[in-house]
Protein backbone atom coordinates (compact mmCIF):
# COMPACT_ATOMS: atom_id res chain seq x y z
CA UNK A 1 0.00 0.00 0.00
CA UNK A 2 1.67 3.23 -1.14
CA UNK A 3 0.42 6.72 -0.36
CA UNK A 4 3.20 8.64 -2.04
CA UNK A 5 0.83 11.44 -3.08
CA UNK A 6 -1.77 11.05 -0.32
CA UNK A 7 -4.88 9.47 -1.80
CA UNK A 8 -4.02 10.67 -5.30
CA UNK A 9 -2.68 8.07 -7.70
CA UNK A 10 -1.11 9.49 -10.88
CA UNK A 11 -2.60 8.32 -14.15
CA UNK A 12 -3.75 9.45 -17.58
CA UNK A 13 -7.38 8.38 -17.68
CA UNK A 14 -10.59 10.28 -18.42
CA UNK A 15 -11.01 11.43 -14.83
CA UNK A 16 -7.34 12.31 -14.35
CA UNK A 17 -7.44 14.74 -17.26
CA UNK A 18 -10.64 16.37 -16.06
CA UNK A 19 -10.52 19.69 -14.22
CA UNK A 20 -11.23 19.10 -10.47
CA UNK A 21 -14.10 21.57 -10.68
CA UNK A 22 -15.78 19.38 -13.31
CA UNK A 23 -15.28 16.37 -11.06
CA UNK A 24 -16.84 18.16 -8.09
CA UNK A 25 -19.88 19.13 -10.22
CA UNK A 26 -20.14 15.51 -11.39
CA UNK A 27 -20.00 14.26 -7.76
CA UNK A 28 -22.75 16.70 -6.80
CA UNK A 29 -24.83 15.37 -9.71
CA UNK A 30 -24.28 11.81 -8.47
CA UNK A 31 -25.37 12.90 -5.00
CA UNK A 32 -28.49 14.64 -6.32
CA UNK A 33 -29.56 11.64 -8.42
CA UNK A 34 -28.88 9.26 -5.53
CA UNK A 35 -31.16 11.27 -3.26
CA UNK A 36 -33.91 11.43 -5.89
CA UNK A 37 -35.62 8.14 -5.33
CA UNK A 38 -38.61 8.03 -7.64
CA UNK A 39 -38.14 4.55 -9.05
CA UNK A 40 -36.68 1.47 -7.39
CA UNK A 41 -34.86 0.54 -10.58
CA UNK A 42 -33.02 3.83 -10.55
CA UNK A 43 -30.48 3.31 -7.85
CA UNK A 44 -29.14 -0.06 -8.99
CA UNK A 45 -28.65 1.49 -12.43
CA UNK A 46 -26.94 4.53 -10.96
CA UNK A 47 -24.92 2.12 -8.87
CA UNK A 48 -23.82 0.44 -12.08
CA UNK A 49 -22.82 3.80 -13.55
CA UNK A 50 -20.84 4.79 -10.48
CA UNK A 51 -18.99 1.46 -10.38
CA UNK A 52 -18.16 1.84 -14.06
CA UNK A 53 -16.77 5.32 -13.25
CA UNK A 54 -14.78 3.98 -10.30
CA UNK A 55 -13.39 1.18 -12.44
CA UNK A 56 -12.44 3.70 -15.13
CA UNK A 57 -10.59 5.80 -12.53
CA UNK A 58 -8.88 2.79 -10.95
CA UNK A 59 -7.81 1.15 -14.21
CA UNK A 60 -6.11 4.35 -15.37
CA UNK A 61 -4.47 4.79 -11.92
CA UNK A 62 -3.10 1.25 -11.77
CA UNK A 63 -3.34 1.22 -7.96
CA UNK A 64 -2.36 -1.55 -5.60
CA UNK A 65 -4.96 -4.18 -4.77
CA UNK A 66 -5.69 -2.16 -1.60
CA UNK A 67 -8.08 0.11 -3.48
CA UNK A 68 -10.02 -2.73 -5.09
CA UNK A 69 -10.28 -4.38 -1.69
CA UNK A 70 -11.41 -1.08 -0.15
CA UNK A 71 -14.17 -0.54 -2.71
CA UNK A 72 -15.16 -4.21 -2.53
CA UNK A 73 -15.20 -4.24 1.28
CA UNK A 74 -17.17 -1.01 1.48
CA UNK A 75 -19.75 -2.33 -0.99
CA UNK A 76 -20.07 -5.62 0.90
CA UNK A 77 -20.52 -3.95 4.30
CA UNK A 78 -23.10 -1.40 3.11
CA UNK A 79 -25.00 -4.00 1.06
CA UNK A 80 -25.06 -6.39 4.01
CA UNK A 81 -26.45 -3.85 6.46
CA UNK A 82 -28.95 -2.53 3.92
CA UNK A 83 -30.20 -6.03 3.15
CA UNK A 84 -30.56 -6.84 6.83
CA UNK A 85 -32.17 -3.66 8.10
CA UNK A 86 -34.07 -1.95 5.28
CA UNK A 87 -36.52 -4.74 4.32
CA UNK A 88 -38.24 -4.22 7.67
CA UNK A 89 -39.51 -0.84 6.50
CA UNK A 90 -40.53 -2.03 3.01
CA UNK A 91 -44.18 -1.54 1.96
CA UNK A 92 -46.50 -4.51 2.43
CA UNK A 93 -47.20 -6.73 -0.49
CA UNK A 94 -44.90 -7.74 -3.29
CA UNK A 95 -43.80 -11.18 -4.40
CA UNK A 96 -41.91 -13.19 -1.79
CA UNK A 97 -38.55 -14.25 -3.18
CA UNK A 98 -36.78 -15.56 -0.07
CA UNK A 99 -37.99 -16.91 3.27
CA UNK A 100 -35.53 -17.52 6.07
CA UNK A 101 -36.98 -20.58 7.86
CA UNK A 102 -35.93 -20.25 11.51
CA UNK A 103 -36.27 -16.48 11.80
CA UNK A 104 -39.36 -16.45 9.67
CA UNK A 105 -38.15 -13.42 7.69
CA UNK A 106 -39.78 -12.98 4.33
CA UNK A 107 -38.02 -11.01 1.61
CA UNK A 108 -40.26 -9.66 -1.10
CA UNK A 109 -39.14 -8.12 -4.38
CA UNK A 110 -40.20 -4.74 -2.97
CA UNK A 111 -38.02 -5.21 0.13
CA UNK A 112 -35.03 -6.22 -1.98
CA UNK A 113 -35.44 -3.21 -4.26
CA UNK A 114 -35.73 -0.90 -1.28
CA UNK A 115 -32.59 -2.36 0.32
CA UNK A 116 -30.60 -2.05 -2.91
CA UNK A 117 -31.73 1.49 -3.54
CA UNK A 118 -30.80 2.55 -0.01
CA UNK A 119 -27.40 0.86 -0.34
CA UNK A 120 -26.63 2.70 -3.56
CA UNK A 121 -27.93 5.93 -2.08
CA UNK A 122 -25.04 5.70 0.41
CA UNK A 123 -22.45 4.09 -1.86
CA UNK A 124 -22.75 6.30 -4.94
CA UNK A 125 -21.68 9.64 -3.40
CA UNK A 126 -18.92 7.96 -1.36
CA UNK A 127 -17.47 6.35 -4.47
CA UNK A 128 -17.82 9.57 -6.48
CA UNK A 129 -15.86 11.49 -3.80
CA UNK A 130 -13.24 8.72 -3.70
CA UNK A 131 -12.89 8.99 -7.50
CA UNK A 132 -12.22 12.72 -7.09
CA UNK A 133 -9.49 12.12 -4.51
CA UNK A 134 -7.86 9.29 -6.43
CA UNK A 135 -7.70 11.21 -9.70
CA UNK A 136 -6.98 14.80 -8.54
CA UNK A 137 -3.72 16.22 -7.28
CA UNK A 138 -4.38 17.73 -3.82
CA UNK A 139 -2.89 21.03 -5.01
CA UNK A 140 -5.37 21.17 -7.91
CA UNK A 141 -8.30 20.41 -5.63
CA UNK A 142 -7.13 23.20 -3.32
CA UNK A 143 -6.96 25.59 -6.25
CA UNK A 144 -10.41 24.53 -7.46
CA UNK A 145 -11.92 25.38 -4.08
CA UNK A 146 -10.08 28.72 -3.95
CA UNK A 147 -11.30 29.54 -7.48
CA UNK A 148 -14.82 29.05 -6.16
CA UNK A 149 -14.14 31.84 -3.69
CA UNK A 150 -13.65 29.65 -0.65
CA UNK A 151 -11.11 31.42 1.66
CA UNK A 152 -7.81 29.67 1.03
CA UNK A 153 -7.08 29.15 4.71
CA UNK A 154 -10.34 27.20 4.95
CA UNK A 155 -9.91 25.37 1.64
CA UNK A 156 -6.52 24.08 2.71
CA UNK A 157 -7.84 22.23 5.79
CA UNK A 158 -9.25 19.18 3.94
CA UNK A 159 -6.26 19.15 1.58
CA UNK A 160 -3.86 19.12 4.51
CA UNK A 161 -5.88 16.36 6.17
CA UNK A 162 -5.62 14.31 2.99
CA UNK A 163 -1.90 14.97 2.74
CA UNK A 164 -1.31 13.74 6.28
CA UNK A 165 -3.70 10.80 6.22
CA UNK A 166 -0.89 8.48 5.02
CA UNK A 167 1.41 9.85 7.75
CA UNK A 168 -1.24 9.03 10.36
CA UNK A 169 -1.60 5.50 8.92
CA UNK A 170 2.17 5.00 9.15
CA UNK A 171 2.15 6.32 12.74
CA UNK A 172 -0.66 3.91 13.71
CA UNK A 173 1.32 1.02 12.21
CA UNK A 174 4.52 2.05 14.02
CA UNK A 175 2.75 2.42 17.38
CA UNK A 176 0.85 -0.85 16.89
CA UNK A 177 4.09 -2.71 16.09
CA UNK A 178 5.81 -1.14 19.10
CA UNK A 179 2.96 -2.09 21.44
CA UNK A 180 2.76 -5.62 20.01
CA UNK A 181 6.49 -6.02 20.67
CA UNK A 182 5.63 -5.19 24.30
CA UNK A 183 3.24 -8.14 24.37
CA UNK A 184 0.02 -6.24 23.67
CA UNK A 185 -2.32 -8.80 22.09
CA UNK A 186 -4.89 -6.85 20.15
CA UNK A 187 -6.52 -9.91 18.60
CA UNK A 188 -7.24 -11.70 21.85
CA UNK A 189 -9.90 -11.21 24.54
CA UNK A 190 -13.51 -10.07 24.68
CA UNK A 191 -14.70 -7.03 22.73
CA UNK A 192 -14.60 -4.66 25.78
CA UNK A 193 -11.06 -5.83 26.61
CA UNK A 194 -9.98 -5.36 22.99
CA UNK A 195 -11.40 -1.84 23.04
CA UNK A 196 -9.44 -1.17 26.24
CA UNK A 197 -6.27 -2.45 24.56
CA UNK A 198 -6.72 0.01 21.72
CA UNK A 199 -6.30 2.83 24.23
CA UNK A 200 -2.61 1.85 24.21
CA UNK A 201 -2.56 2.76 20.50
CA UNK A 202 -4.86 5.75 20.68
CA UNK A 203 -3.14 7.70 23.49
CA UNK A 204 0.42 7.71 22.04
CA UNK A 205 -1.06 8.42 18.61
CA UNK A 206 -2.86 11.49 19.94
CA UNK A 207 0.28 12.71 21.74
CA UNK A 208 2.40 12.28 18.61
CA UNK A 209 -0.22 13.90 16.43
CA UNK A 210 -0.55 16.91 18.75
CA UNK A 211 3.23 17.37 18.74
CA UNK A 212 3.29 17.01 14.97
CA UNK A 213 0.39 19.45 14.63
CA UNK A 214 2.40 22.07 16.50
CA UNK A 215 5.42 21.49 14.23
CA UNK A 216 3.17 21.64 11.19
CA UNK A 217 1.61 24.88 12.40
CA UNK A 218 5.03 26.45 12.89
CA UNK A 219 6.21 25.13 9.52
CA UNK A 220 3.16 26.65 7.78
CA UNK A 221 3.75 29.86 9.67
CA UNK A 222 7.37 30.05 8.54
CA UNK A 223 6.23 29.41 4.96
CA UNK A 224 4.00 32.49 5.23
CA UNK A 225 0.72 30.55 5.07
CA UNK A 226 -2.19 32.79 5.91
CA UNK A 227 -0.23 36.03 6.01
CA UNK A 228 -1.86 37.49 2.89
CA UNK A 229 -5.58 37.70 2.16
CA UNK A 230 -5.17 36.06 -1.24
CA UNK A 231 -2.46 33.91 -2.75
CA UNK A 232 -1.22 33.11 -6.21
CA UNK A 233 -0.78 29.72 -7.89
CA UNK A 234 2.30 28.95 -9.93
CA UNK A 235 0.49 26.30 -11.97
CA UNK A 236 -2.96 27.62 -12.82
CA UNK A 237 -5.95 25.42 -13.53
CA UNK A 238 -7.46 26.02 -16.95
CA UNK A 239 -10.98 25.01 -17.91
CA UNK A 240 -10.83 23.51 -21.38
CA UNK A 241 -13.36 22.43 -23.99
CA UNK A 242 -12.56 18.84 -22.96
CA UNK A 243 -13.84 19.57 -19.43
CA UNK A 244 -17.13 21.03 -20.73
CA UNK A 245 -17.60 18.11 -23.12
CA UNK A 246 -16.81 15.40 -20.58
CA UNK A 247 -18.92 16.99 -17.85
CA UNK A 248 -21.90 17.23 -20.23
CA UNK A 249 -21.39 13.57 -21.19
CA UNK A 250 -21.22 12.40 -17.58
CA UNK A 251 -24.34 14.32 -16.59
CA UNK A 252 -26.11 13.24 -19.81
CA UNK A 253 -25.73 9.59 -18.79
CA UNK A 254 -27.77 10.31 -15.68
CA UNK A 255 -30.38 12.44 -17.42
CA UNK A 256 -30.91 9.91 -20.22
CA UNK A 257 -31.24 7.05 -17.75
CA UNK A 258 -33.74 9.11 -15.75
CA UNK A 259 -35.87 9.80 -18.83
CA UNK A 260 -35.76 6.14 -19.85
CA UNK A 261 -36.63 4.87 -16.40
CA UNK A 262 -39.61 7.18 -15.96
CA UNK A 263 -41.03 5.93 -19.28
CA UNK A 264 -40.53 2.23 -18.64
CA UNK A 265 -43.55 0.68 -16.88
CA UNK A 266 -42.84 -0.47 -13.37
CA UNK A 267 -42.37 -4.21 -13.67
CA UNK A 268 -43.45 -5.27 -10.24
Amino acid sequence: MSFEYGLYIPGRGVFHRLDPRAKIIWALTVLAFSIYNGNYMMNPIYGGIIYASALLALISSKPTSFWYKLFGGLTAVILFFSLVFWPASAPRGGRPILIIPILGWKYTDLALNLALSKAFLVLSPIIAIAVIFITSRPGDLFQALVRWKLPYRLAYIPILALRFLPTVIVEIKTITDAQKSRALELEKGSIPSRIRKYIAIFVPLMIRMMRSALELGVALDSKGFGVMKTRTFSRELRWRLYDTFMLCMLIAVYIISLIMLTRIPIWW
Partner: protein, 290 residues
Protein backbone atom coordinates in the same frame (compact mmCIF):
# COMPACT_ATOMS: atom_id res chain seq x y z
CA UNK B 1 29.37 42.92 9.50
CA UNK B 2 26.08 43.62 11.36
CA UNK B 3 24.40 41.73 14.13
CA UNK B 4 21.82 39.17 13.00
CA UNK B 5 20.49 38.12 16.40
CA UNK B 6 20.85 40.03 19.63
CA UNK B 7 19.40 38.70 22.87
CA UNK B 8 19.72 40.59 26.13
CA UNK B 9 18.81 39.18 29.52
CA UNK B 10 16.09 36.89 28.20
CA UNK B 11 13.82 35.10 30.64
CA UNK B 12 11.11 32.72 29.44
CA UNK B 13 8.63 30.84 31.59
CA UNK B 14 5.89 28.60 30.22
CA UNK B 15 2.37 28.92 31.56
CA UNK B 16 1.72 26.92 34.70
CA UNK B 17 5.46 26.23 35.13
CA UNK B 18 7.21 27.42 38.25
CA UNK B 19 10.73 27.54 36.88
CA UNK B 20 12.00 29.58 33.95
CA UNK B 21 13.06 27.58 30.87
CA UNK B 22 15.50 30.33 29.86
CA UNK B 23 17.19 32.33 32.62
CA UNK B 24 18.77 35.68 31.91
CA UNK B 25 20.36 34.57 28.64
CA UNK B 26 22.33 37.03 26.51
CA UNK B 27 23.67 36.13 23.08
CA UNK B 28 24.88 37.91 19.98
CA UNK B 29 25.19 36.26 16.57
CA UNK B 30 26.75 38.15 13.70
CA UNK B 31 25.44 38.27 10.17
CA UNK B 32 26.74 35.30 8.16
CA UNK B 33 27.88 33.42 11.26
CA UNK B 34 27.34 29.66 11.69
CA UNK B 35 26.57 28.85 15.32
CA UNK B 36 25.74 25.50 16.88
CA UNK B 37 23.65 25.40 20.03
CA UNK B 38 24.29 22.34 22.20
CA UNK B 39 23.18 21.07 25.56
CA UNK B 40 21.18 18.34 27.28
CA UNK B 41 17.48 17.81 26.54
CA UNK B 42 15.32 20.32 28.39
CA UNK B 43 18.13 22.88 28.74
CA UNK B 44 16.13 25.55 26.89
CA UNK B 45 17.55 25.27 23.35
CA UNK B 46 14.17 24.84 21.66
CA UNK B 47 12.59 27.53 23.85
CA UNK B 48 15.33 29.93 22.77
CA UNK B 49 14.81 29.11 19.08
CA UNK B 50 11.03 29.47 19.38
CA UNK B 51 11.49 32.86 21.02
CA UNK B 52 13.80 34.02 18.24
CA UNK B 53 11.13 32.86 15.77
CA UNK B 54 8.38 34.67 17.68
CA UNK B 55 6.51 31.36 18.10
CA UNK B 56 6.82 32.13 21.80
CA UNK B 57 4.68 33.99 22.85
CA UNK B 58 2.55 34.23 19.67
CA UNK B 59 1.66 30.54 19.35
CA UNK B 60 2.96 29.01 22.57
CA UNK B 61 1.93 31.21 25.45
CA UNK B 62 4.68 32.05 27.91
CA UNK B 63 5.96 34.90 30.03
CA UNK B 64 8.87 36.59 28.25
CA UNK B 65 11.18 39.18 29.80
CA UNK B 66 14.22 40.82 28.24
CA UNK B 67 14.85 41.79 24.64
CA UNK B 68 15.27 39.87 21.39
CA UNK B 69 16.21 41.44 18.06
CA UNK B 70 16.53 39.79 14.66
CA UNK B 71 18.26 42.49 12.64
CA UNK B 72 16.01 45.45 13.44
CA UNK B 73 12.87 43.40 14.10
CA UNK B 74 11.49 42.43 17.48
CA UNK B 75 10.11 38.87 17.06
CA UNK B 76 8.01 39.27 20.18
CA UNK B 77 5.88 41.94 18.55
CA UNK B 78 6.59 41.68 14.79
CA UNK B 79 3.99 40.26 12.41
CA UNK B 80 4.66 36.76 11.02
CA UNK B 81 4.73 38.25 7.52
CA UNK B 82 7.65 40.50 8.33
CA UNK B 83 9.38 37.89 10.42
CA UNK B 84 9.22 35.19 7.72
CA UNK B 85 11.43 37.36 5.50
CA UNK B 86 14.10 37.53 8.19
CA UNK B 87 14.11 34.28 10.09
CA UNK B 88 12.80 30.80 9.52
CA UNK B 89 13.06 27.37 11.09
CA UNK B 90 13.54 23.84 9.75
CA UNK B 91 12.69 20.99 12.10
CA UNK B 92 14.48 17.70 12.52
CA UNK B 93 11.60 15.74 11.02
CA UNK B 94 11.12 16.99 7.47
CA UNK B 95 8.08 14.73 7.08
CA UNK B 96 5.85 17.14 8.99
CA UNK B 97 7.06 20.17 7.09
CA UNK B 98 6.50 18.97 3.56
CA UNK B 99 2.91 19.90 2.89
CA UNK B 100 2.48 19.36 -0.84
CA UNK B 101 2.77 16.42 -3.20
CA UNK B 102 5.63 17.47 -5.49
CA UNK B 103 9.09 18.95 -5.10
CA UNK B 104 8.18 21.91 -7.32
CA UNK B 105 4.96 22.67 -5.41
CA UNK B 106 6.80 22.43 -2.10
CA UNK B 107 9.28 25.17 -3.00
CA UNK B 108 6.61 27.26 -4.73
CA UNK B 109 4.21 27.01 -1.76
CA UNK B 110 5.67 29.82 0.45
CA UNK B 111 6.12 32.07 -2.58
CA UNK B 112 2.47 31.56 -3.55
CA UNK B 113 1.48 32.41 0.02
CA UNK B 114 3.23 35.75 -0.34
CA UNK B 115 1.37 36.36 -3.60
CA UNK B 116 4.42 36.46 -5.86
CA UNK B 117 3.74 36.48 -9.60
CA UNK B 118 4.06 33.22 -11.55
CA UNK B 119 7.26 34.20 -13.42
CA UNK B 120 9.02 35.18 -10.21
CA UNK B 121 7.95 31.93 -8.54
CA UNK B 122 9.29 29.86 -11.45
CA UNK B 123 12.59 31.72 -11.40
CA UNK B 124 13.08 31.35 -7.65
CA UNK B 125 12.07 27.68 -7.56
CA UNK B 126 14.58 26.90 -10.32
CA UNK B 127 17.32 28.83 -8.53
CA UNK B 128 16.69 27.28 -5.10
CA UNK B 129 16.43 23.72 -6.43
CA UNK B 130 19.81 24.19 -8.09
CA UNK B 131 21.32 25.45 -4.82
CA UNK B 132 20.05 22.45 -2.83
CA UNK B 133 20.87 19.96 -5.58
CA UNK B 134 17.34 18.85 -6.35
CA UNK B 135 17.13 20.06 -9.96
CA UNK B 136 15.50 17.52 -12.20
CA UNK B 137 13.34 16.15 -9.40
CA UNK B 138 10.61 18.81 -9.72
CA UNK B 139 7.78 16.35 -10.35
CA UNK B 140 8.86 13.77 -7.79
CA UNK B 141 6.77 13.26 -4.68
CA UNK B 142 8.55 14.40 -1.47
CA UNK B 143 7.65 11.00 0.01
CA UNK B 144 9.82 9.28 -2.59
CA UNK B 145 12.98 11.23 -1.67
CA UNK B 146 15.77 10.00 0.59
CA UNK B 147 16.13 11.41 4.13
CA UNK B 148 18.87 13.84 3.07
CA UNK B 149 16.89 14.96 0.03
CA UNK B 150 13.79 15.52 2.18
CA UNK B 151 15.77 17.67 4.61
CA UNK B 152 17.28 19.57 1.65
CA UNK B 153 13.76 20.11 0.30
CA UNK B 154 12.53 21.37 3.68
CA UNK B 155 15.43 23.85 3.68
CA UNK B 156 14.78 24.76 0.01
CA UNK B 157 11.16 25.53 0.72
CA UNK B 158 12.04 28.14 3.35
CA UNK B 159 15.10 29.31 1.42
CA UNK B 160 12.87 30.41 -1.44
CA UNK B 161 11.72 33.29 0.77
CA UNK B 162 15.38 34.33 1.08
CA UNK B 163 15.45 34.62 4.86
CA UNK B 164 18.56 36.13 6.39
CA UNK B 165 18.61 33.72 9.34
CA UNK B 166 17.85 30.00 9.23
CA UNK B 167 17.36 28.00 12.42
CA UNK B 168 17.95 24.28 11.98
CA UNK B 169 16.59 22.04 14.72
CA UNK B 170 18.77 18.91 14.75
CA UNK B 171 19.05 18.88 10.97
CA UNK B 172 21.03 15.65 10.77
CA UNK B 173 19.55 13.61 13.61
CA UNK B 174 17.48 11.40 11.30
CA UNK B 175 19.95 11.18 8.46
CA UNK B 176 22.46 8.59 7.29
CA UNK B 177 26.08 9.72 6.58
CA UNK B 178 25.22 10.49 2.95
CA UNK B 179 22.24 12.64 3.98
CA UNK B 180 24.35 14.38 6.63
CA UNK B 181 26.98 15.24 4.01
CA UNK B 182 24.30 16.69 1.75
CA UNK B 183 23.06 18.96 4.55
CA UNK B 184 26.63 19.99 5.47
CA UNK B 185 27.41 20.89 1.84
CA UNK B 186 24.16 22.82 1.63
CA UNK B 187 24.94 24.85 4.75
CA UNK B 188 28.38 25.73 3.38
CA UNK B 189 26.80 26.78 0.09
CA UNK B 190 24.19 28.94 1.83
CA UNK B 191 26.88 30.77 3.72
CA UNK B 192 29.04 31.25 0.67
CA UNK B 193 26.36 32.26 -1.81
CA UNK B 194 23.79 34.05 0.35
CA UNK B 195 25.75 34.97 3.48
CA UNK B 196 22.94 33.34 5.47
CA UNK B 197 23.22 33.31 9.26
CA UNK B 198 22.75 29.78 10.53
CA UNK B 199 21.84 28.71 14.04
CA UNK B 200 21.72 24.92 14.38
CA UNK B 201 20.57 22.99 17.43
CA UNK B 202 22.52 19.74 17.64
CA UNK B 203 23.53 16.87 19.88
CA UNK B 204 26.15 15.54 17.47
CA UNK B 205 28.91 17.83 16.31
CA UNK B 206 31.17 15.74 14.05
CA UNK B 207 29.47 16.80 10.83
CA UNK B 208 29.98 20.51 11.44
CA UNK B 209 33.00 20.81 13.72
CA UNK B 210 35.33 21.89 10.92
CA UNK B 211 33.02 24.59 9.59
CA UNK B 212 31.18 26.02 12.57
CA UNK B 213 32.26 29.47 13.77
CA UNK B 214 31.04 29.15 17.32
CA UNK B 215 29.56 26.61 19.69
CA UNK B 216 27.18 27.75 22.41
CA UNK B 217 26.53 25.26 25.20
CA UNK B 218 23.41 25.64 27.33
CA UNK B 219 22.44 24.03 30.60
CA UNK B 220 19.42 24.71 32.78
CA UNK B 221 18.38 27.73 30.77
CA UNK B 222 21.78 29.44 30.78
CA UNK B 223 24.80 29.59 28.53
CA UNK B 224 27.56 27.67 30.30
CA UNK B 225 30.22 27.54 27.59
CA UNK B 226 30.81 29.50 24.43
CA UNK B 227 33.59 29.75 21.89
CA UNK B 228 35.05 28.26 18.73
CA UNK B 229 35.15 24.43 18.65
CA UNK B 230 38.86 24.35 19.54
CA UNK B 231 38.21 26.45 22.61
CA UNK B 232 35.09 24.55 23.72
CA UNK B 233 36.62 21.08 23.43
CA UNK B 234 40.05 22.01 24.79
CA UNK B 235 38.85 21.02 28.27
CA UNK B 236 37.51 17.55 28.91
CA UNK B 237 33.76 17.27 28.41
CA UNK B 238 32.07 14.25 29.95
CA UNK B 239 28.96 13.38 27.90
CA UNK B 240 27.05 12.02 30.89
CA UNK B 241 27.40 15.39 32.65
CA UNK B 242 27.24 17.75 29.69
CA UNK B 243 24.29 16.04 27.98
CA UNK B 244 26.00 16.00 24.59
CA UNK B 245 28.99 14.24 23.07
CA UNK B 246 32.15 16.03 22.06
CA UNK B 247 33.70 14.78 18.79
CA UNK B 248 34.80 11.18 19.22
CA UNK B 249 38.39 12.05 18.31
CA UNK B 250 38.39 14.54 21.20
CA UNK B 251 37.09 11.82 23.53
CA UNK B 252 39.97 9.53 22.44
CA UNK B 253 42.39 12.38 23.18
CA UNK B 254 40.86 12.92 26.66
CA UNK B 255 41.34 9.19 27.39
CA UNK B 256 44.92 9.20 26.11
CA UNK B 257 45.80 12.27 28.19
CA UNK B 258 44.22 10.69 31.27
CA UNK B 259 46.42 7.63 30.77
CA UNK B 260 49.53 9.79 30.59
CA UNK B 261 50.03 10.34 26.84
CA UNK B 262 51.14 13.88 26.22
CA UNK B 263 49.28 15.48 23.32
CA UNK B 264 50.11 19.00 22.09
CA UNK B 265 46.42 19.83 21.64
CA UNK B 266 42.97 18.24 21.73
CA UNK B 267 41.96 17.35 18.17
CA UNK B 268 38.42 18.10 17.04
CA UNK B 269 38.45 16.54 13.59
CA UNK B 270 39.66 13.25 12.15
CA UNK B 271 42.22 15.04 9.97
CA UNK B 272 43.68 16.89 12.94
CA UNK B 273 43.69 13.75 15.10
CA UNK B 274 45.60 11.80 12.41
CA UNK B 275 48.29 14.44 12.21
CA UNK B 276 48.63 14.75 16.03
CA UNK B 277 48.75 10.99 16.54
CA UNK B 278 51.28 10.60 13.73
CA UNK B 279 53.47 13.19 15.48
CA UNK B 280 53.14 11.37 18.82
CA UNK B 281 53.88 8.00 17.23
CA UNK B 282 56.92 9.40 15.33
CA UNK B 283 58.18 10.95 18.53
CA UNK B 284 57.74 7.61 20.34
CA UNK B 285 59.57 5.77 17.57
CA UNK B 286 62.42 8.36 17.75
CA UNK B 287 62.73 7.84 21.51
CA UNK B 288 62.85 4.03 21.20
CA UNK B 289 65.53 4.27 18.43
CA UNK B 290 67.69 6.59 20.53
Amino acid sequence: MGTAIRIDDLWVRYREEEDYAVKGLSLRIDEGEFVILMGPSGCGKTTLCYTIMGIIPRVIKAEVKGSVKVFDLDPLTASPTDLAKYVTIVFQNPEMQLVTTSVYEEVAFPLENFGLPKDEIERRVKEVLEVVGLSGLENRSPASLSGGQKQALAIASVLALRPRVIILDEPTSQLDPQGTKRVTDLILKLRKEFDTTILAVEHRIEWAVEYVDRIVVMNEGRIVLEGDPKEVFSREIRPERAGFRPPQVSEIAYNLMRSGVNLPTIPISLREASSILRGVLDEGAGHSRS
